[in-house]
Symmetry: C2
Subunit: 631 residues, 2 copies
């Protein structure tokens, strides 16, 4: 069977992991003796036994006086006992018990009198005494082999006077980037190259797992050169596992699986997991070799599911899985904590988009044979951050606005842990998510063409009789963007249509889409009068980028997005962008913090500097239904 | 108010944390510019914006051929279209789209023919193309300030050609151990000293949080010397926070709170949290100073609840809380995963016992005003390890045996992640826990005095009609231990009683207790004939240690425990130690792994070398009720 044909015979990721772990068998990296002080995070290679007992003697468990318990018999509340001072010995917690003393009376139970110490309670033998060996007895096993050492294990070993121990040395991974098109970070990739970031990202990931990573010089897609580089890496006794980046798919330059097959044993090529499918692994020169896909999200997923278990196995400790929580599915996966539990809001970007991961809180796995998961269903999320790390922030759904990122940053700066997680769903999509209880905040700029007012009509229509508050984010200019060298420069949308300029549109439900549709209707234009009407993007910056990169010639957007990409901007309409939320949430301290920022001179200045923003009403509140206005 | 009086006015730990964080206010450690490659785990000090768009050009999203979409219009399954090869361009994932080409046909949808490439489906403009800026647009904020950088953030920043960024420098903690009684690890503490392990344990903890720790030379409990050492530490610009170890209680040598009060501002002294109560914090020379208790468990708890939030705040990121899971309370807290969820088995050691933490999986917080939590209640556990790290192991309850630790180690060595967590409850206590479904395995050695057989009678009585299996751990010698210089040496328990030797007993429900009670009854002895009968310990080694340290003169135990502490052992009875489990669990792969070890030459040799063990039947299975014996 050809490699290409085999690649189509994908195996489940669990089977791939099992094949890899079975191929590793009992192989472990060597043990080394190190100081216990340096051992946290390492894995024990041998069981550890206490060298001495702890405590090493009978010791006071409280501050007070050491006594012979027999001296205290009979003392009660009603019949206090006076102990002669010279028969006692003051003692502090941890002090060894003096010979022939067998109990401690805590300091707070003693009344110091001139004649002696008065006590009102008898103590029994060994009361408030930590017996020698109570915690650990000399010779006792205090840590088994194959355990990852925590700080408290360091404490336990030192107290048992164990100063050195045998641990597995850190697993060493060599990372070999491949590809003809690679350039280094900082170089200009616009001539068609790709910045080689994966090796750095994976190095950080591998180091976060307690292993070591070494980056090798990138290699072009030339089988002979690749083979030499791989064999050199595997011959290095300091390399326990080799990662080959990219080249594991079935494209023209994807040689990794073929090379593994011809020089070693190919364990699998391709797993039924997207992203992460184009992954290959084998044993070559007696060492594990894993080929990871070039798309960063695929590489990260494959590393978590296959590389991490292999590293854990090589160091002889338990194979770690990801943390999981239960959440109600919104769309594709950012997380927000609500009174009723977690809500998962899908991000829905592709495997090539690193922001899919860098903006995500977690991953939802969907079965290969799944036909989809309905919104509202409870799902299990594998966390990229721990629940407490997922900022105590606000889940925002709705229209995209650049001032939101500034607000997110300002909130994080003023109240660490606070922030806004934006799911761009458009104005209408955001209100619908708010109505379903899947967002803390919606954001919209919806013109009511009859009244000429913004948002209130649409919010009332979608949110029904719910008590709703609107907080003004800002007023902003909507208009047309064009490349600065556009000739002739149209003065409005109808003029652009007449010139045959290719338009880039926003998705249905976006406030900007409703506005451009409204302007077209006013001008008597239909979609077929506007070439590119069907070309839809989800954000202002995506529209600006389409024009800048000549995928289109003009589009509707906010001034700040046009300015960010040095495009020409023709202002057409000033609109109000509101944050929409249940009125009851106005009391939430996070909303208070948010309003403080909206009204702050810093935030207002930063936002106005973006261009096209007016913050004259930022932070002001309106409540719906109107007859209940109270603020 | 005197400090001592104030110490009695404990404040809730949440109030203490709030006071400390409020005192820190907006204070942050300085920012520094570092390479993005080195930034994982650090905290952003400024928002990060994309330097270039990603992808930096329109790029193929699949391996295949680049086409003009207009060329493909009309192609269907029934009307395939033949594209001339010279109008196409082969392209691999990530390659830039050639000028004037606007879509990619994936390689698997192409049939290569002599006359050209046959396609059976049209593609639309931009299909399988990643548009320039689709992931990140130049100028877009890709990371807000105050966020902890993950590996995927490193990838995102490098792809956006951001190579350096401003992060908070690591927070630097100086650790000052105090106390007249300290000695270094490796020194002999048996003359009344205490091994200074806390600074090393806390260093490991602080480093695991991404901060730096520097240990200062220990200081005696002399206020003037202490003050000088503290002022020196605080004058060091490389110190952001000072930890003073021990001296924060209200004992004679506890000067920390007094010194803070007289040289700075004391924020609190004492929190209503046990362990962890004797903690103090203040601001001195403009820097935070925290006095931690000397007991290791108290120090760790206070560090988690007060130090960690302070370090997070100083680095400007979200204050992290511990991970939590829901579990059903068994006793006091080790964790085991059952089909029905997690079960929490309390360890119940003291604040001075580091094994309370080093053997624990998590912490259960009990409210100050709680009158107790009934077994069986669902409780929230703060995890010391992540759920996936808590070994896929077996929760054992019952009699303590040294062969169990050897088995734990052997299992961890052969199947990483496997292991046995022992809760010593005695033979009867273990069976009761098994019956309640709170342990995977019980361990017992219960003599039926009528039949002279071990375990089956008691198991049937306690487990009722449940189908139960017994796996023999080993046979072992029970007997009397004495110090080797005992003169005269008694030959049995009645002889020891006649000599007036002080006995150390096991707790009620322990198989050894039932055995010693039986031997006493046979000899016509009553508890009052045996001095020390009421002195109870929970394990064999604790009994041995009591005799070694002269807290008692003799006790009943297994030979291995006596041998471990070089005591004289008088064998009296050979008994069978069985592992008891639901018969259905015999199919569990963990039980299979366990039996493999019990029957292995390695485990048997190691256990027999402990002394007093016979492994002739180790690993053999008996099933109850007897009429269903099948193995």
């Amino acid at each position: 069977m050809s490699l290409r044909a085999r690649y189509r015979q994908l195996i489940p990721v669990e089977s791939a992991r099992t094949r890899l772990l079975e191929a590793l068998g009992d192989h472990r990296v060597p043990a080394e003796e190190i100081a216990v002080e340096e051992a946290a995070g390492r894995v024990t290679a041998q069981a550890v036994h206490a060298a001495i007992s702890s405590p090493p003697y009978h010791a006071a468990a409280m501050d007070g006086i050491a006594v012979r318990s027999s001296m205290t018999f009979g003392a009660t509340e009603t019949r206090p006992l006076l102990l002669p001072v010279d028969a006692l010995q003051p003692i502090d917690t941890g002090d060894p018990m003096p010979a022939d003393f067998d109990a401690v009376i805590p300091v707070e139970r003693i009344l110091e009198k001139d004649e002696g110490h008065e006590i009102r309670q008898a103590v029994s033998p060994r009361q408030h005494v930590r017996l020698c060996g109570e915690d650990m007895v000399a010779g006792e096993m205090i840590l088994a082999s194959g355990r990852r050492i925590r700080p408290e294990h360091v404490g336990a070993m030192l107290q048992a006077n164990v100063c050195r121990l045998f641990v597995r040395r850190r697993v060493r991974v060599a990372i070999l980037p491949t590809g003809d098109e690679l350039c280094e970070p900082g170089q200009d990739p616009s001539d068609g190259r790709v910045i080689e970031s994966n090796s750095r990202m994976l190095t950080a990931l591998i180091e976060s797992w307690g292993a070591e990573a070494k980056r090798l010089p990138p290699q072009p897609d030339v089988p002979k050169q690749l083979t030499t580089a791989i064999e050199q890496a595997l011959a290095d006794p300091g390399v326990d596992l080799l990662l080959i980046l990219a080249g594991s798919s079935a494209g023209r330059g994807d040689f990794t699986p073929r090379l593994i097959e011809s020089h070693g044993e190919l364990l699998f090529h391709g797993v039924s997991c997207m992203p992460g499918k184009p992954v290959a692994a084998g044993i070559w020169a007696g060492k594990p070799v894993i080929g990871l896909p070039g798309f960063p999200v695929s590489a990260m997923v494959a590393a978590e599911t296959l590389l991490r278990p292999a590293l854990d196995r090589l160091s002889g400790c338990a194979v770690k899985g990801p943390e999981r929580i239960q959440a109600k599915l919104n769309r594709a996966v950012a997380l927000g904590r609500f009174d009723s539990g977690w809500v998962a809001a899908p991000l829905g970007r592709g495997a090539g988009a690193i922001t899919t991961l860098s903006r995500a809180h977690g991953i939802l796995r969907v079965a290969t044979d799944s036909e989809g998961i309905p919104a509202g269903q409870m799902v299990e999320i594998e966390l990229l951050q721990s629940p407490s790390e997922i900022f105590d922030g606000l889940l925002f759904a709705g229209s995209h606005d650049m001032a939101l990122a500034v607000l997110d940053d300002a909130l994080a700066g003023s109240s660490p842990g606070m922030g806004i997680h934006v799911t761009p769903l458009g104005s209408l999509g955001g209100l619908a998510a708010l109505a379903r209880g899947e967002a803390h905040l919606a954001g919209c700029h919806l013109l009511d063409t009859e009244s000429g007012t913004y948002n209130e009509k649409a919010v009332t229509r979608i949110m029904g009789s719910a008590e709703i508050a609107l907080i003004t984010l800002a007023h902003r200019q909507q208009g047309l963007c064009l490349r600065p060298d556009q000739e002739p420069m149209p003065k409005d949308l109808p003029a652009a249509a007449r010139q045959g300029l290719r338009f880039v549109n926003r998705q249905p439900g976006a406030g900007t889409r409703l506005l451009s549709d409204h302007l077209m209707t006013q001008a008597g234009l239909t979609p077929k009068d506007l070439p590119g009407y069907e070309h839809e993007e989800f954000t202002h910056v995506a529209v600006a980028e389409a024009v800048r990169s000549k995928a289109a010639d003009c589009g509707m957007l906010i001034e700040a997005a046009a300015r960010a990409l040095n495009l020409k901007f023709l202002p057409l309409v000033e609109e109000r962008f509101d944050l929409v939320l249940p009125r009851a949430m106005l009391d939430d301290p996070r909303i208070t913090a948010l309003r403080v920022q909206l009204e702050s001179a810093d935030w207002q200045a930063t936002v106005e500097a973006l261009g096209g923003y007016d913050t004259r009403e930022s932070g002001s509140i309106r409540c719906l239904p109107k007859n209940k206005w109270s603020i």
